[in-house]
Amino acid sequence: MKTFAGKTLRWEWREGVIELTLDHAPANEIGTAMLAELEQFVAAFGALVPETSVCIISSARKSLFSAGADLRELYRGAAPLPEKERLSGIRNFLERIHAVLNALDAAPFVTIAAVHGVCFGGGLELALACDIIIADKMARFAFPELRLGLIPGFGGIPRLKRDLGNAFVRDLFFTGRTVNAARAQAVGLVAQLAGEGEALRIARSTAAQITKFDSVTRAAAKKFIKRVPHDELRREIDLFCELFARPAVMAALEKFVEDSGPMPYLP
């Protein structure tokens, strides 16, 4: 399926490059709707891979790439359930999102996240599953999950450790703070910086360069350069589910959901 237009995202294949655009108001939150459409995207790999060199993931929303998991949907879905069903529900969701991100991480074509604005939590985890992050200078990155008594659940810590593996990772996680694109590039999280509003343009010119080279060699080299940390990813799901069982987490989620103030994204 070379083109797709869904409720939360769309993609279009052209001359060896897929552009996947997230477009789900208000903040490209990753919940069941976006997950289902990402699963459709992955299901289309079989048909897309032979003719694809690069996939660029970007956002059509004005001030952000993605604010992360849909916490409101998570809370409203989980709150009424008995504990056992709540936990099996969250595990099922995590296993599905991991399957999608693992497929993206291991895709034989090169993946580029073209990031502007807010790229937090699950949004950062989506970007981390890509080979290259190109960020405009107004982009900001964060793992705010500790504020809710959780860890990132979409593979963030294993991938961040794989790619950076240093004190910056611990600072980012333990403080829950946001960092700007320049800092993210300095530590190696972001590969290229772009001027404001220019991330997608630069991603396209980067993609055009990448398409020049042999696809078989590229796919083999990618597998060699970048391993998917499967064992750690599975342990992350287990740890997330253990933490999710704590009453403090549902209380923190409730507080987040009921906060109708204008500042939900500040620490």
Binding site: R177, T178, L266
Partner: protein, 80 residues
């Protein structure tokens, strides 16, 4: 090195430009949330502008509870 007064003025100018207000319309003691009516996404955009302009990193937890331009400038000054 900039003085605190210079830093404060630059912050006021940055905010006025970013939010498209007339130059000189903001004062150091103004509460920027009340004066500008901004949400968290706009606050983060402003934080990026400040960091890019001054060439610093300003962790958001250092500006928690800060709501006036002068105190914000003091936080920035401590990173210069």
């Amino acid at each position: 090195m900039r003085t605190l007064e210079q830093t404060t003025q630059e912050v006021l100018d940055l905010a006025a430009r970013h939010f498209q207000l007339p130059a000189g319309s903001l004062a150091p003691a103004d509460d920027f949330f009340k004066k500008l009516g901004i949400d968290s996404l706009q606050t983060l955009e402003m934080l990026s502008r400040i960091e890019n302009h001054f060439g610093i990193e300003l962790p958001d937890y250092e500006v928690q509870g800060v709501s006036d331009f002068r105190t914000l400038a003091e936080r920035i000054q401590s990173r210069l």
